[in-house]
Symmetry: D2
Subunit: 377 residues, 4 copies
């Protein structure tokens, strides 16, 4: 089967997440990168593209130009990955969606709620797919956790504890030449949420994905600890879900000793589930009143979703890139199905999930401004 | 050196914490149990006392009677341990304090804020000591954590995450004959806080002890998940400390898979510290920008406080009972010193800490009633 | 019930294990230390005894003198704890056993196989009890592991991996004033085995206790890594058990980063069990083909032996001292029963276990001298 | 840069390791699979090839035919991956090597020592590269461990403990239709070693790679626990290295609860290192006398080799496939360099490492037959 022709918006030199998307798209051999608007000038884009083996005439300095030309090419891109800073997501996605080119877009969906709504409209109007890379949902044990909640293994969910601490912004590195830190702490490019937008939204999405619960309201206390920083770097949120479950979300970029400590714990009236991103091949399950069990990726007791998201037998760890690749792999399934006008059931994060995420960020910012008052979603 | 003559109020058959106090008082050989008002009738008290080897005439059915008589005996008790349900703490302590008998009292201090204030007054008026058994502060690694914060190893504290999940009240066991559950979910005996009073207050005290920070305000969302239960069984609190640090506290008695998951994480601008009660011989320390270090009880890098609270070399775990015994051991030091009219520096939880704990419970309950509004302390 | 009157041989100032025995004897309140030959001179013995609150005339400079006098006293010791260097175990035990005084003795049984055999004879001839403090067998999860093997939870045992690494002898500290290191590396006082006698024998005993398997033969490679050291400091042994199970034993005192890393793993044709002394409240159990389970002290799925060896609910860790105290507590049961001429079933290590341990050391030394040839036991 | 044209020998349907090699070759985009002798008949090979997107005329039923034809093609394969059962490694490699086509070959090198020696000769005579996929050496933390040993961080190595337990052969699944189990327990296809060849050799290679030590002699006790099995399923080996270090190696396929528990611990006179394959992003380092440190992939304290083998920042776990891909990636570097007649320094396992591995297997089998006598290497 021929690989799907992929383009990339953003992801030139120095970009972290662009490289991740490229590896993720390659792991299962379903995509081939053939074009890109990798940087904001044609020259830089060509330089980055050359290093990636792209033909010079498929390297663009402008995503609109790229969308227009690729749409006309016989072998033009079938899908694009958008891996720019957040404020570019909407305008870039729009150009491709309206030309029927599938979009795989990094999170959060957009830098503003207004843009998010416009992007939802654009996606709904388009025949093309829109996939948001909330990549943590691609981990096999996260899939298993979701299935176990759905099939009632922990009963009715009561308590949801989710957290995502990091430490890389402990010092004001954005003033010190770190490009990654620069745009992520810049409200023009990131939006009104700093830590809450960058990683709080991942934590929120993970809790939503696994529990299936809808957030009813939240009370958020956002803090900027580093002097001179323009956005929050620590996020405390109390959560109330439809149906009565309660939760807490903590995300931080100033917690020394934490690399990417995304961790979810869900407790119901019949059991509990615990998962940590840094040790992703494990899922702890306690049926209430029985010993705790250590479930493993593709191991004994693996659900269909765990198995289906695994490539190799248990005990040989799969990691972040494989979880990310699962999103790409399933996007490829949808793209192939779409050729025949079909849209099978899937678990991929959609533009609606993206809107929810931006609404979550927006609600956190609003709540925090009102001294952590409860805000409905 | 002769052991200190100890009495016990509460702690008859079926009591959990009474047995713990007895073991803790024995481990270092500094106390000898000689009298008790172990139950609410003379008969039951004598039965429990006989099993403990107490002389029949030193077993009382009433703590006031006991206080009166023991105070007159030549070899009467020098100190008493109060291990009753919370509402008895104040009236019992009062009787002994006013007769100059030292009091070692379980937490929380009292079941009401009014009682707590009266007990503070009683303790201040008395020549006798009052020690509150916030036993977790007796763990060697907790002592080390406190010292490291004080000596600046993690810089200025920014974020404090503390939690104490359990699962034993997942089902309505108080309706099913569990005496432990019965009084702990009964507002008459426990006070207005359920989970927040029973274990939330431990978590709060631990955070205070280690960081030295004063709580400025809190916003609490208390929940009762189990139908028919009369007190909260899950506690979510956002914390603001004097000086700008922020925190979260979660305690729960309905989180399946958690036995006694007390855990503290403190992050400053120079490093982080992480400790978990279930693995108490370890303390994780990350100087920002360096690899994480695993500090151990009495091991390499142990501070004076860690060494002083340890009995045996590293690698042979000490546990909950030894941490508890450290409180007793240090109380013995104070009692001996008090004989000479001295009062050395010490780290033992005082009646003031007890008042703070009850004020914390009270603030949580008030905040929660006002939809988690911020409440000053 | 009156505590049992206990004497101690050895355990003066600077001794590690004497202090452990004293705490262990106190935890459950069954013993009271009343006499001792704590040091080799009457003067030192009195000094140590005074610090422990012993009457001056019960502090002896000689264990024979002590045995003679205490045997005649109306309130003389009922039992003694022998906590001297190994070469004193036999002569000391003999004096008490022949006078009908119970003996609780540290391991290994003796410093030579000849002495071990004599001690067996002495114990068999005596009406008094002889208990060897292979204290690790007192841990609740070790008790559970033994029960699970017996009841077939892992099927027929095939593989036994046991290890006990430490690091405190990485440097030649015996030449540097460490008294602990001095006698433990001295063949006159320790016997022909260094590391193998000090901790290898613990590992061996633990494997025996849990699996119930008899060792058929072994091949041992003992090494002295530290220049000038007189005994082995690293032990590699291959094991063959009756019935066909195989195993490996590693103990070391030169493995940096290991405090007291005693660890046992047992695999049968139906499942596996894994336990580590430094985290003693956990036991890992895998029924073959099912997820691994984390069993806890006194927690869900606890066997009778686990529960019976626990004092407090799960989640509040018990440690080394409580495991040790279980040996004392059960010895107290036997001593009380012996007053009535009874000897109930028990799990305490006996003089026969001690002989086995010394035979194990002897076999290791012999095998190693013959280039790790197989030696029968 | 154009990807390197890759062929594959073996790896048709049902094969585990073929799929792993394909993913590993794709992750960094340096190879493109264009041809294959995926199965032993042309028909099956075409079927497997079609599923992989290979052109029909590049799917062969015979590796010799493939070698001949591809060598003549203008766009023939530049390299082949050999992923067959062991006994095919040599004949297949020979055909490609003699035609100047690079070979990337799975381990162990061959099924017999005689074949191994012939393959060494063939590789030495050829201008083409020969790379053996001892993939665990590709893990970033393994690279760091090797560098730390070399730079003296743990001093002179004294003790090496390595193990690789699995449990998938606990039952006689080879008699029950498992193709993986079938050939791995068949001496005709695997060679004289079962577990020792399949995973013992990985453990040995890892110890060699990290410590740099040469094995001087070994004493091996190989066991077949499962009735009717034709090769060993449990391996106990004592090791003596040049220079005096000692070690133990345990590998097992009948240890329930172990998935792929490869684990290495190395202790020197200045410190210790510990690494476990199932949690590969961590490396534990203890400088003797200091607290243990948790080093992470690409994290604080990462060496050049750790960084160079990492794709993404710390805290986002890389796994088995990325470690494997590092071997492919570095092979690509060599292949590209070879085009210019260069051969840069590298860490890839060579045909000599392969010979060492087969010699290790052979020595284990010989020793075991002689009742675990010491055998020189």
């Amino acid at each position: 089967m021929k690989p799907i022709r992929l383009g990339m918006i953003g992801g030139g030199n120095d970009a972290f997440i662009g490289g991740v998307h490229r590896i993720a798209s390659r792991i299962d051999g379903r995509f081939q990168l053939v074009a890109g608007a990798l940087s904001s000038t044609a020259e830089k884009s060509k330089a980055s593209g050359a290093a990636l083996g792209l033909a010079e005439d498929r390297c663009y300095g402008d995503f609109t130009e790229m969308a227009k030309r690729e749409a006309r090419l016989k072998d033009g891109v079938e899908a694009v990955a958008i891996v720019t800073p957040n404020h570019v997501h909407y305008p870039a996605a729009r150009e491709f969606l309206k030309r029927g080119i599938h979009v795989i877009c990094d999170k959060p969906l957009t830098s503003t709620l207004a843009d998010a709504k416009k992007l939802v409209a654009a996606a709904e109007k388009s025949d093309a797919l829109f996939v948001l890379t909330h990549n943590y949902t691609g981990y096999p044990m996260v899939r298993q956790a979701r299935e176990m909640v759905r099939q009632g293994d922990i009963g009715n969910v009561r308590v949801v504890q989710v957290e995502y601490p990091q430490d890389w912004l402990t010092d004001p590195v954005e003033a010190d030449g770190s490009k990654q830190a620069e745009w992520r702490t810049d409200p023009e490019r990131s939006g009104a949420g700093g830590c809450v937008g960058d990683i709080g939204t991942h934590a929120y999405n993970l809790a939503r994905f696994v529990t299936g619960l809808q957030l009813e309201s939240l009370a958020a206390d956002l803090t900027t600890f580093v002097e001179g920083r323009r956005l929050d770097d620590n996020v405390h949120v109390m959560l109330r879900f439809d149906g009565g479950a309660k939760g807490m979300l903590w995300s931080s970029q100033v917690a020394p000793g934490n690399e990417n400590g995304l961790r979810l714990r869900v407790y119901g009236d019949k059991g509990g589930l615990e998962w940590a991103q840094e040790d992703p091949n494990y899922l702890w399950f306690t049926p209430f009143g029985e010993p705790k069990r250590l479930l493993t990726r593709n191991g004994a007791g693996a659900t269909a979703g765990n198995q289906g998201a695994s490539r190799i037998p248990p005990g040989h760890p799969e990691g972040y890139l494989e979880g990310f690749a699962n999103i790409y792999n399933e996007a490829a399934d949808l793209i192939v199905a779409a050729r025949d006008g079909k849209m099978p059931d899937h678990l991929l994060p959609t533009v609606q999930d993206g809107l929810e995420g931006v609404a979550f960020i927006d609600a956190c910012v609003r709540s925090s401004k009102r001294d952590a008052a409860w805000v409905k979603l």
